[in-house]
Symmetry: C2
Subunit: 232 residues, 2 copies
């Protein structure tokens, strides 16, 4: 069971560490953290992860390609080296899992065209720019593509994926080992339930990042429309 | 806001990364990962964390001392260097947060005597050896001591702690940013709800580790009983 997870500067570490916790519980799982160079990669709040492989490391065939999100995914959407790597790995991986705004990176790689998908609640309005069919769900499974809501939704999505990879009983064992019977102390986990001032304040904090993402999404959508049709 | 988190070989990375995600969302939070040496520290499934400080680094005064768990906490229960560090930091920290079997490490340091506490469901029976009053809850707050159930319960406990440190609205904003409106795909997150064969299989997988923990807990309880009373 071989899994490659893209990591990058200013990743949201939990987009990676949540799925890592779940998927590493599958017997024989081997998880490679991939970036342009091996070595330390800092998450946007300062947690230091370590890349064990580069974009050149031969990791195929893959059971899972994992694409996390976070503020640092914005430049990846126009980084052809990273996008080519994602396309190549996705074309042969058994499953592709995008967590949080990792879905936008997949979108920029052209992998969401006509696929049902979701992402962090703050970015769902951007999915149509990539040709995706936005689904209002925490975890969306469309064929071999799994996309999830923000950050902690990666845990739910990975448990779904663990069941697809190794059966429901394995996923249930992992869930029990993780003591995953959550009791969020507040009703504030998504916009539908959060108090309005809380929602507005988080939305405002995200605004500069959201504007950047929108600008990139618009640029990419425009470029695609003005591209000559494939093969001509 | 200064936080010191103990890390160690064979930690369960999510005991650390869950709370990190929450607490790093507090404005001005500064989180130090502490081990005997700075540098890479491998979690029990292979994720590489990086210690940024040592037991000798002066980090006081602390707002939070975070003690995670995992298979690697067993030797810490008889590691006087680590236990002294925990005692010294805990004596001046505003809050002490133990996640998962981190509670057993606190217990070995003598910090659970007559305190209400919880831990991973597989280890709750060990808490009385440390003089703790076991409480059947996912998050237990006893004065400035917060203990949580296993692994993912660290997220719930940290959100409680964020509210204590910075108010409920801050905690709610962090919860919304993390999109923490969990939807576990199975009813298998704790022994009360897990299918019996799933529970039994996980219990069996834990057995060797549980035996080791029991042996240490018994040894420590015995040593304490045979110690001369303090001051004599």
């Amino acid at each position: 069971m071989r899994i490659a997870a893209l990591i990058f500067p200013d990743i949201d570490q939990m987009d990676l560490t949540g799925p890592f916790e779940v998927l590493s519980g599958i017997a024989g799982a081997e998880i490679h953290l991939v970036w342009k160079e091996t070595g330390p990669v800092r998450d946007y709040h300062g947690l230091v992860l370590t890349a064990s492989a580069t974009l050149e490391t031969n990791l195929d065939p893959l059971d899972v390609l994992l694409v996390p999100g976070g503020p640092g995914q914005v430049p990846l959407m126009e980084d052809e080296k990273v996008l080519s790597w994602i396309r190549a790995r996705a074309s042969q991986a058994r499953y592709v899992l995008a967590v949080c705004t990792g879905a936008l990176t997949l979108g920029a790689a052209g992998l969401l065209q006509d696929r049902r998908a979701t992402t962090h609640w703050n970015s769902t309005h951007l999915l149509p720019y990539f040709g995706a069919i936005t689904e209002d769900a925490r975890v969306v499974v469309d064929g071999n593509l799994i996309t999830t809501g923000g950050v902690t939704a990666g845990i739910d999505g990975s448990l779904h994926l663990a069941a697809l990879l190794s059966g429901e009983e394995t996923a249930q064992r992992i869930q029990l080992a993780m003591h995953y019977a959550p009791e969020p102390p507040f009703a504030s986990g998504d916009p539908a339930e959060a108090p309005k001032p809380v929602y507005e304040s988080v939305l405002e904090a995200y605004a500069p990042l959201t504007e950047k993402r929108l600008a990139v999404a618009q640029r990419l959508a425009m470029a695609q429309r003005t591209q000559p049709a494939a093969g001509h």
